[in-house]
């Protein structure tokens, strides 16, 4: 029997959710809705007696103070009613917790196919047409990919029948079967690969065929009853060889050709030459670098007793399809990486970065989701994923660019901490050994996420399978996290890794390399519903799962802990040293692959890379005369989307949970100016902290990705140093997002140029990491940030995102008591500008505002800057610095104004006193985005000691902090060129997104 419980807030209570939707309807579509109220619906597909139904209604689901509820339809007096529920198979956490609570209260256990489903009703009052209501339903409330919806008008409403009894149960009615695949020719296998969406690489196909046709292999396969390759096997190989898992692009061969100099160069393997080699070299020099380049995340030393763990990735394609689901899955997914690093770490911090089209996009192309809706969804996804995980989210970025309408970027970054030793062994080391059990813990396996990895390695088009979009479940994962930390501390875990891209295929495939073999019973894998084929079980990317190796003698204790934490754990196989990965289903082998197949010589990917230097591309400096009204100009720049306040995001993220907050995302007197870096104190009671910052400057890519990369790294370094980070402990994280670089005359005619951009960015990565001594603790690349969008005439246009590098810097701070923030503290303090300002306005905010790109992109001279950074660190450690802020996008005018705005104090600046002023125009001095610069304020009494530290360096005492809140800049003449009220500047800066909460 199915029952339907409806619950609503009492009439006298404000319905905040409804009010929010009403506001969005106005903001998104211009619809005037009188009122919206929400009814929560639980469809109970369980055997419950009438008294039991009443009991759960009263004792669990209805708050007598605020709510009323009924098993009959409650909607009344509306003009329109929208019902929204999940599609079958979509994760419904609230449904499963409801079922758990019902079972607990009534002391019953329901059958596996019984369930509770949640959905919502929106009662709408107002003069709207059916078309408008459908727009609200389809374009604001529901996402067709994961949800279904219906609209009822007040006229046709049957108040007795209501919405009926929606039960989105998955019924597959399918007998799982293994199929074999013919490999008679390369062409045939290629065709089958396309048909089955296997996404095998054409160049891999001959290698795969060769393997399965080998005499010895055929003979061995016969012993387990196999002949032709099975779909399970080919899916496994496809996953392992995908660009997402194998980084074929970064490991590729690039034929680089500089069209100006005629110089030709072969670059073999960007990963090895530009990431691995420098990192290993730096690891030799810096003993804090503990474990890099092999595990789910990098490991650095925090103190004698702890390591910290860091990694980051993107979740672009899924977020582009379903913003909320994609983003929450992204943040919850990245949190599994530190959990699966070493023997497992406890999560301590998360960060985010969003690159999207303009919120007010009104172009003629039709993105899958409008950037405004997409951004709202992404922000909410990371909010729920982070907050419900109990992990602070104290830092993040938001960057707008028209070309991200093709595909948005969603960066997620995670840090964890672990004791340096578990028992007597180092926590960062792990291995699997023959005889150890393979355990899958956490969620169950369903059809969700199948072919996610291969979809992420493809350009988005109307044919992209939507099935790879999921909704992450932080609740299930949090329980698992707590469980695994306890199991780790009891020394029950010998190996742990997460199930992310590729699912079991990847987690077991990779962990079995250590023992050199494994056997798995696919029929023991717990499923969400029956009817999955064997290959689907093997590659499904259902979330919230870890794979753990446990010694048989520890199994009982491991399972007892799992039960205590209400986490499902299942033994699904064991590691061995057979040299084979063997998958069985109900006693019958369906895959039998040599462990060394994936190490065999698959052909390297190859790319032509053609570099056209910027001047050859026709870029020049623009012709702009000196602006006469610098005050209004500053205000205009402050209100530009990539400069203005976006505080509404930081405020909805819990950035203080765990009690470790030292420097928050928003600082200053009004607690409203973004910090340079966040600082946390992950080991309570210790004075040590970790500072983290992130940067991205994709605009510079338009001139030269080499300098884009240099400027991005330098900015992240400076931001970390500005709060007190240690220049001798700078950990790096590179997240590349690049448009497709494979040349195709019709589909990607500028592929060679984009490939050259990638090579140059990697060269810069190598050079600046070596220069600053930054090991790349972790990193990921996400190619294919292109989209083919529908235009107004039935055409599709390809939009490629700009080459984007997000760079993260982490630093361990020895004494958090010495941290500084960027806000001016007291009137009378001296204002110093450290670092030279140069004629480098290329691709700056200033030029962008003037409609120009320019040529003079900021460049970084490490040798000149490094001594200044060391001196700054010394000054901060000596307590001489009252505030410190790195100058970045928008230049000196914007960032010195931010220092004043932070303190809600005035500032007087004399431009001729800044290093490098002679030879610059005033516009250049104010808005150049030269690297290496800081604005520093210092108490007058500390002037001499401070200046001594920097003697001979590029520093200028250029001004003073004032009581009167005027931001005033002079160019050497008597009359100020800027003289603005700081409160007014702040107002202008906050206004663009000021209404958002």
């Amino acid at each position: 029997m199915v029952s339907r419980l409806e619950i609503r807030l009492k009439k006298e209570l404000m319905d905040a959710e409804g009010a929010g939707i009403r506001q969005k309807s106005r903001e998104y579509f211009g619809f005037e809705v009188d009122a919206i109220r929400v009814i929560r619906v639980l469809t109970l597909d369980m055997e419950l007696k009438p008294d039991q139904l009443e009991q759960i209604r009263n004792e669990i689901f209805t708050n007598p103070v605020t709510e009323e509820s009924s098993y009959s339809p409650m909607a009344t007096g509306f003009d329109w009613l929208i019902w929204i529920g999940f599609r079958p198979g979509v994760r419904d956490t609230a449904g499963s917790t409801a079922r758990e609570a019902i079972e607990d209260l009534l002391g019953i256990e329901s059958k596996q196919d019984q369930a509770v489903y949640t959905s919502k009703l929106y009662e709408i009052r107002g003069q709207l047409s059916e078309k408008q209501i459908k727009k609200i339903a389809g374009d604001l409330l529901a996402n067709d990919i994961v949800q279904q919806w219906k609209v009822f008008s007040g006229y046709e409403w049957d108040k007795d029948k209501g919405i009926g009894f929606p039960v989105p149960k998955v019924i597959l009615d399918h007998e799982p079967e293994v199929s074999t695949i013919s490999i008679q020719s390369d062409e045939e296998l290629g065709r089958i690969s396309l048909e089955r969406n296997l996404a095998l690489q054409n160049r891999d196909i001959p290698v795969i065929r060769r393997y399965f046709l080998r005499e010895d292999i055929l003979k061995e396969r016969k012993t387990v009853g196999l002949d032709l390759p099975t779909d399970v096997e080919l899916e496994y190989i496809s996953q392992a060889r995908s660009d997402h898992c194998n980084h074929n692009t970064f490991r590729g061969l690039f034929r680089y050709h500089d069209l100006l100099t005629g110089n030709r160069e072969t670059v073999d393997n960007l990963f090895k030459s530009c990431i691995e080699a420098p990192t290993l070299k730096i690891k030799e020099e810096k003993d804090w670098v503990t474990s890099v380049l092999w595990d789910n995340a990098g490991v650095g030393r925090f103190d004698d007793d702890h390591y910290y763990v860091i990694t980051g990735e993107t979740h672009n394609s899924p977020s582009n399809m379903e913003a909320y689901g994609g983003a929450i899955t992204g943040i919850v997914g990245i949190y599994r990486d530190p959990m699966g690093t070493g023997k497992g770490s406890r999560l301590i911090l998360g960060m985010y970065g969003y690159c999207v089209g303009h919120r007010e996009y009104e172009g003629e192309l039709t993105p899958h989701l409008h950037p405004r809706r997409l951004l709202d969804g992404v922000i909410e996804g990371v909010r729920d994923g982070g907050n419900k995980s109990g992990i602070p989210t104290p830092y993040g970025l938001l960057f707008f660019d028209e070309s991200y309408v093709g595909k948005c970027l969603v960066f997620v970054t995670a840090l964890g901490i672990m004791p340096a030793t578990i028992g007597h062994a180092s926590s960062h080391k792990k291995t699997t050994s023959p005889g150890e059990l393979i355990i899958m813990a956490g969620g169950r396996v369903g059809k969700d996420g199948i072919h996610g990895v291969t979809a992420a390695s493809e350009t988005y088009s109307e044919h992209t399978p939507a099935g790879h979009v999921q909704i992450g479940d932080p609740y299930t994962q949090k329980k698992m996290h707590d469980f695994l930390i306890e199991a780790r501390d009891e020394e029950l875990i010998t190996f742990i890794t997460d199930n992310g891209g590729g699912g079991l295929s990847s987690s077991i495939g990779e962990s079995a390399r250590f023992s050199n073999g494994a056997r798995v019973d696919l029929d023991r894998v717990p499923l969400k519903y029956e009817g999955l084929d064997q290959w689907e079980i093997w590659v499904s990317e259902s979330q919230e799962r870890m794979t753990i190796a446990v010694k048989p003698e520890h199994l009982d204790r491991f399972m007892a802990l799992s039960a205590k934490h209400a986490v499902e754990s299942t033994v699904i196989g064991e590691y061995n040293d057979s040299g084979y990965l063997q998958l069985d289903y109900k006693g019958k082998t369906c895959a039998y692959i040599r462990m060394d197949l994936l190490e065999s010589d698959f052909p390297q990917w190859e790319f032509d890379a053609q570099w056209t230097p910027p001047d050859m591309r026709g870029l020049t400096e623009p012709v702009i005369s000196e602006p006469e009204d610098h005050g209004p100009l500053l205000k205009a720049i402050l209100s530009r989307p990539n400069i203005c306040a976006r505080n509404w995001i930081a405020r909805q993220y819990d950035h203080e949970v765990q009690g470790s907050s030292v420097v928050k995302p928003l600082v200053g007197k009004g607690r409203d100016i973004p910090t340079d870096a966040a600082v946390v104190r992950p080991v309570l009671g210790s004075n040590r902290g970790i500072a983290v910052s992130q940067t991205l400057n994709p605009s510079y890519s338009e001139i030269d990705t080499y300098h884009m990369t240099g400027a991005t790294i330098d900015e992240a370094v400076r931001k970390t140093l500005a709060v007190g980070g240690d220049p001798n402990h700078l950990g790096g994280l590179d997240n590349f997002c690049w448009p497709t670089i494979e040349y195709h005359p019709a589909n990607n005619p500028d592929g060679k140029y984009k490939a050259a951009q990638l090579v140059r960015a990697n060269w810069a990565l190598r050079d600046y990491c070596l220069g600053y001594g930054i090991p790349l603790l972790s990193g990921k690349d996400s190619m294919y940030i292109d989209g083919n969008l529908e235009g107004p005439y039935g055409e599709r246009r390809k939009i490629s995102g700009p080459p984007t590098l997000m760079f993260t810097v982490s630093s361990v701070i020895e004494d958090i008591n010495r941290c500084v923030t960027m806000d001016a503290k007291f009137p009378g303090d001296l204002v110093y500008v450290l670092g030279e300002t140069r004629n480098e306005c290329g691709a700056s905010e200033y030029y962008q505002m003037m409609g120009a790109v320019g040529l003079n992109v900021p460049t970084v001279d490490v040798e000149a800057l490094w001594p200044q950074y060391l001196a700054l660190h010394g000054a901060i450690q000596a307590g001489l610095v009252s505030s410190c802020h790195a100058v970045s996008k928008g230049g000196l005018a914007v960032h010195s104004a931010m220092v004043a705005m932070g303190g809600e104090l005035g500032m007087e600046l004399l431009l001729p006193l800044i290093p490098g002023f002679s030879g610059l125009t005033v516009g250049q001095a104010l808005y150049s985005e030269s690297c290496g610069r800081f604005v520093i304020t210092v108490a007058p009494g500390k002037k001499d000691v401070f200046e001594k530290i920097f003697s001979g360096m590029k520093i200028g005492r250029a001004g003073v902090v004032t009581e009167s809140p005027r931001f005033s800049v002079k160019d050497g003449r008597e009359k100020a060129i800027i003289d603005e009220d700081v409160n007014e500047l702040k107002h202008v800066w906050k206004k663009p997104f000021g209404e958002l909460i």
Binding site: L9, L13, M14, A16, E17, G20, E59, I60, F61, N63, P64, V65, T66, T93, A94, T97, A98, E100, A101, D104, L105, T118, R383, N387, K388, G390, D473, P474, Y475, K478, K479, D482, K564, H565, A566, A650, R651, Q652, D654, E656, V657, Q658, G659, S661, V662, V663, K669, R671, R681, L684, G685, I816, N817, C819, D823, K825, F826, G879, G941, I997
Partner: protein
């Protein structure tokens, strides 16, 4: 003069099922002088922890901390209250009768009101009379608030305090009750904390001083005995002076006066220290 009382009250911080402020709450209780343990809800229910018997009877302070118990999808703290009422209801009531202390922070506060442990008018410890519902803004908020503390309240946790700054971090913190019940709370001195401005004057609903639209700016209440206390702000979120948003400026100001800031504990600890002192006196 008598020797200082160094008895260490024993505290439980509940863990599991999506609760998440357990480490810092445990740390803060220890700073305050308690012997604190993080214990999983299922261990308290089963009475067994790692092969050892445990019982609420052996503890003095029971803390329901922050987090998202059971994901909060059916109303914050609702399913946790249902679970605990079912399995620990009698034990908790006995714990209270024995004169011990219960503290609910954020999600814990939401759980306490759903259990009916507060406000417990007429000592009815199972009735739900107040609620914490969705913030008027419709969204989660993380911000620091100023709190006005009721000197006339029997709450043992706030004795000697008049104002306090703490962080709030919640999506469902709007305190709501029928008008007559709110009057009753004030009459009984059960309103312990109210959102206030910088000068300690009530916020009068003004956002973001009152971050969620709580009626009468109510941020925390206690039972008639003052031994059960629930609040939305996080005392454990201010365990160190560097947690405070203005600490870098305060430190700089002190330095200029030739004073050094003592790397000291945050003011949130005072609430927990009061609890520890109370137990030392009472037991």
């Amino acid at each position: 003069m008598s020797a200082p009382n160094t008895m260490k009250p024993k505290a439980i911080v509940l863990t599991g099922y999506g609760l998440n402020c357990d480490y810092e709450t445990d740390y803060s209780l220890k700073l305050a002088g308690a012997e604190s343990y993080r214990i999983h809800i299922n261990e308290v229910i089963s009475g067994e922890m790692g092969g050892r018997k445990i019982s609420l009877e052996d503890y003095h302070i029971l803390v329901f901390g922050g987090g998202f118990s059971w994901a909060d999808d059916h109303g914050a703290g609702v399913l946790m209250a249902s679970k605990l009422r079912q399995h620990l209801g009698k034990q908790i009531e006995r714990f209270v009768r024995d004169g011990k202390l219960v503290l609910g922070i954020c999600n814990g506060f939401q759980c306490l009101v759903n259990l009916g442990l507060i406000p417990a008018f007429d000592s009815q410890y199972r009735e739900r009379n107040v609620a914490l519902t969705y913030n008027d803004s419709g969204n989660f908020i993380d911000t620091w608030v100023n709190l006005k503390i009721n000197p006339g309240s029997p709450c043992v946790f706030t004795q000697g305090l008049s104002t306090l700054e703490l962080p709030v971090r919640h999506g469902e913190g709007k305190f709501y009750a029928a008008a007559e019940d709110i009057d009753r709370l004030f009459e009984n001195g059960q309103v312990v904390l109210q959102y206030a401005d910088e000068n300690g004057q009530e916020a009068h609903g003004q956002w973001p001083l009152n971050p969620n639209g709580s009626l009468q700016d109510i941020a925390g209440i206690c039972d008639p005995t003052g031994r059960i206390f629930g609040l939305m702000p996080h005392p454990e979120g201010f365990n160190h002076y560097t947690n405070h948003p203005d600490w870098t400026k305060k430190k700089e100001a002190l330095t200029r006066q030739g004073e050094e800031i003592m790397p000291g504990e945050g003011e949130g600890i005072r609430i927990l220290r009061n609890a520890v002192e109370y137990i030392r006196t009472a037991f």
